[in-house]
């Protein structure tokens, strides 16, 4: 849209035609070449003398290159004078101004005088007034006189050609918007664009710096920097001593840009053709060398070579990419080709303007070509970026998918493991019960059965055997109850079961169960072992000790818990053989649990002490201490 506005602004009929001055006079004066090459801003101007002949001309005036203006002298360098008269409307009270849209000549040296007084000089600014419009207030003295004479003067040489737009003289308030609009389009907007591109270029350069394998960013950065350099001269004056260097760089930059464009576009197609790149590179370098300021070729020759080579490179790259875009239809390349063609059109327009073949009020369009070219560049980079993001997303989602798969697999194998574990537990449980049945219940029942069959057992004895069997079964049941690894609760169940029995046997039970930490290893299997140990100890007391008081205590000693069963009986030393066997069993069971049994006999007390580890995993270390 902006470009459209520029094109329109470049070609539309001038605004405020009532202030436009189209009639003027032209003359030439001779000068020394040194004044042209080293102009002095403070030098007094020698005005054309009265004898000089003035030619009437129409403005805007264009004298194309290799042509001579009417009356142009044959000398190489000379001064061109354009004179116009202005008569203010009789009722004018407003401040007046002179607005000159464009003046282009071989050298950028311009002076503007009103009634012989110099009001503007671009001498020494380098580059001169070729792109930026001039808006000059008319001195008050001249305004008071009601009418004045304007002289526009500049250096030129024969057949270099020049171009002067029709100036406007009128109220400053009316001309200022015109001048400002033109300044914006010709200079400010290109400058903004140029800086924006430079920033983008630096950003891309940063991207490339941290991701060296992404050459696309580097190409983008280089292209935008080259463009920046290339566009500088539209709005920046250059010190005189750098003019030729600056001119050289500007002249060659376009070819480099085209090469970068080619390389950039090729990143979205295929590998760039090595021959094309080498050929273009060689041509560009050669052109650069030939046009270098060190070689001091005539300026017409070097610019001719430069423009010719540039045209070749531009047409070559655009042609190659166009073919490619037609063949492969990558959207990035197609957009880039469109941008290139637009730029080519702009370039031709600007070349014609530069050769004074178009109206001087036209604007240079090349600075706006960046909008298209870098728009296409950005589009390509953006697509690459979006593609990268969606790739990351798809990688993520596939990762998630894989994670879900793994989780499922894990769940399946966990289930399998659980099943195996359950089966193992069932088998263990079965083996445990078998062992129990075999040792205790089974053998009791079996021997009783034999005796009953042989008629050797009285019914009271049968009842006793059966009761013993049931008593034997109860710890098994209790060991399966949920006790939360609490040894105290386990012992409590035992008391709950046999407490009354003990009392009926004439034993007084003293219960002193202190709090104990949970024992992580106290599962059903181990709980039964503990119950058996305690049961054995109690049975021994009941059967053999002749005791009256039995005391059960629990406490914690370091990394162990202690269960003490003490009685006031006759002691184990005089115990029957069963007592001895019972003790061996207790020892064996305690060792299986990682604990130990101690027997203590002191004064009238017999004490069975069961020591059990709290955490069986750290037991070896605890013992080592």
């Amino acid at each position: 849209m902006l470009t459209g506005a520029v094109l329109v602004a470049g070609c539309i009929a001038p605004d405020r035609p009532e202030h436009r001055i189209t009639r003027a006079e032209l003359t030439f004066t001779s000068t020394r070449p040194v004044d042209v090459i080293h102009p002095d801003r403070n030098r007094r101007l020698t005005l054309p003398d009265a004898a000089v002949r003035w030619q009437p001309i129409n403005l805007p005036m264009r004298v194309p290159r290799q042509q001579a203006a009417p009356g142009e002298p044959a000398t190489d360098a000379h001064r061109v004078w354009i004179r116009l008269r202005y008569v203010a409307p009789p009722d004018n009270v407003e401040a007046l101004a002179l607005y000159l849209p464009r003046l282009m000549a071989g050298f950028g040296v311009e002076d503007i005088l009103i009634d012989g007084e110099r009001i503007e000089s671009t001498v020494g600014r380098g580059g001169g007034q070729w792109n930026e419009p001039l808006l000059l207030p008319v001195p008050e003295a001249a305004q008071r006189r009601g009418g004045f004479e304007v002289l526009v003067s500049f250096w030129n040489w024969r057949e270099a050609g020049f171009m002067v737009a029709a100036p406007y003289i009128g109220p400053l308030a009316e001309l200022r918007p015109l001048a400002e609009q033109r300044r914006f389009l010709a200079s400010d907007a290109p400058r903004g664009l140029c800086y924006a591109l430079a920033v983008l270029g630096l950003f891309a350069l940063g991207c490339w710096w941290f991701r060296r394998e992404e050459k696309t960013y580097l190409l983008f950065a280089l292209a935008s920097l080259v463009w920046y350099v290339r566009t500088l001269h539209y709005f920046t004056g250059v010190p005189a001593q750098f003019v030729s260097l600056f001119f050289w760089i500007s002249l060659n930059s376009l070819s480099w840009l085209m090469l970068l464009v080619y390389l950039f576009a090729m990143r979205f197609q295929q590998r760039p053709s090595r021959h094309v790149v080498l050929g273009l590179g060689a041509l560009i370098v050669l052109t650069g060398l030939v046009t270098s300021p060190l070689l001091t070729l005539p300026i017409a020759v070097s610019t001719g070579i430069a423009y010719g080579s540039q045209l070749l490179v531009a047409l070559g790259v655009t042609g190659l990419l166009t073919l490619d875009a037609l063949r492969r239809r990558a959207i990035e390349t197609r957009l880039m080709v469109i941008a290139l063609w637009v730029n080519l059109g702009f370039g031709v327009h600007d070349l014609l303007l530069q050769r004074f073949l178009l109206d001087p009020e036209h604007l240079f369009l090349m600075p706006y070509g960046a909008l298209f070219l870098f728009g296409a560049f950005l589009f390509a980079v953006l697509r690459r970026y979006l593609a990268a993001i969606s790739e990351v997303e798809s990688v993520n989602s596939s990762l998630e998918g894989r994670l879900a798969d793994r989780t499922r697999e894990l769940a399946v194998s966990y289930e399998k493991l659980q099943r195996v574990e359950k089966e193992r537990a069932v088998i263990e449980e079965r083996q445990r019960l078998m062992r129990e049945m075999h040792d205790g219940l089974g053998s009791s029942l079996m021997s009783s059965l034999v005796m009953v069959e042989q008629g050797r057992l009285q019914s009271a004895e049968v009842a006793k055997v059966l009761r013993e069997c049931i008593d034997d079964l109860k710890p098994t049941i209790d060991s399966l109850e949920p006790i939360g690894n609490d040894l105290v609760t386990l012992l409590a169940t035992l008391r709950y079961r046999i407490g009354r029995r003990l009392e009926q046997a004439g034993l007084q039970l003293e219960w002193a169960a202190g709090d104990l930490p949970p024992l992580p290893w106290l599962d059903a299997v181990n709980a039964l072992q503990v119950l058996r140990i305690i049961q054995e100890a109690l049975t021994n007391v009941v059967k053999h000790a002749n005791a009256r008081v039995i005391r059960i205590e629990t406490d914690q000693i370091g990394a162990q818990v202690r269960v003490r069963i003490s009685d006031d009986g006759v002691g184990f030393a005089s115990g029957a053989p069963e007592g001895g066997r019972g003790l061996t069993n207790m020892r064996r069971r305690a060792e299986q649990l990682g604990g130990q049994i101690q027997l203590v006999r002191e004064s009238d007390q017999t004490q069975v002490v069961l020591l059990l580890p709290i955490d069986r995993r750290i037991e070896p270390r605890a013992q080592a201490r």
Binding site: V488, T493, Y496, W511
Partner: protein, 216 residues
């Protein structure tokens, strides 16, 4: 003093006979009926609810729990005792939740048998350490549950009693440790049983509400 009315619901004829014999031999107890299955038991209960109901859980035509619920819903005064072989945690808790307030082991010595019925009738049946432990976790679990406001919480004293039971202390010893009378401990126990019934009912109501079976 009127004798305690007792009903026995037990499918095993030998046990039933033995229990009946024990009760009939006791002067202050009056056996007003026996049943061999759930249907007969329900029939008896419809006619007259006794002071003490002894019921086996495994009946040929259904679960003794149904009979317990039936009675608990109709009587506050009937003490229900479950007859069980081992007094294992699952059966006992279920029974208490249904409304029973104690259990009898089938192999109890004859002297114990009558004594336990007396204790039950007087206040509360002894709780085994494992059962007490389960009750503790159950009430703690409830207080963190969604129906907190409707589930009764244990008082500090009730909590202490349960805690001491898990450590194996008898009611007598607990009374000493807490410096209260044995009768008071029995009262606490009875309250705990009641609360467990309430909480199980509340839970059932809560579940039913969740399922949309019940409208307020």
């Amino acid at each position: 003093m009127t004798p305690t009315e007792v009903v026995i619901v037990e499918d095993d004829a030998k046990f039933r006979g033995a229990f009946a014999h024990l009760i009939e031999a006791t002067a202050d107890m009056d056996l007003i009926g026996t049943a061999a299955n759930l249907a007969q038991g329900l029939d008896l209960m419809r006619r007259r609810i006794p002071d003490v109901l002894l019921v086996d859980l495994d009946l040929p035509d259904g679960s003794g729990l149904d009979l317990i619920r039936h009675v608990a819903a109709r009587s506050d005064t009937c003490n229900i005792m479950v007859i069980t072989v081992f007094g294992d945690e699952r059966h006992v808790i279920e029974s208490i939740e249904a409304g029973a307030s104690g259990y009898l082991l089938k192999d109890s010595l004859p002297a114990d048998f009558i004594e336990q019925i007396r204790v039950l009738h007087a206040g509360g049946s002894p709780i085994s350490p494992v059962i007490a432990r389960q009750l503790l976790t159950r009430f703690v679990g409830n207080s963190a549950g969604p129906a907190t406001s409707e589930v009764p919480e244990l008082s500090e004293r009730e909590h202490s009693v349960l805690n001491l039971v898990t450590k194996g202390f008898t009611y007598q010893e607990i009374a000493g440790l807490l410096r209260v009378s044995p009768h008071t401990v029995l009262t606490y126990v009875k309250r705990i049983y009641r609360k467990l019934q309430v909480s199980s009912k509340t839970e059932a109501v809560y579940e039913a509400r969740k399922l949309g079976l019940l409208r307020d």
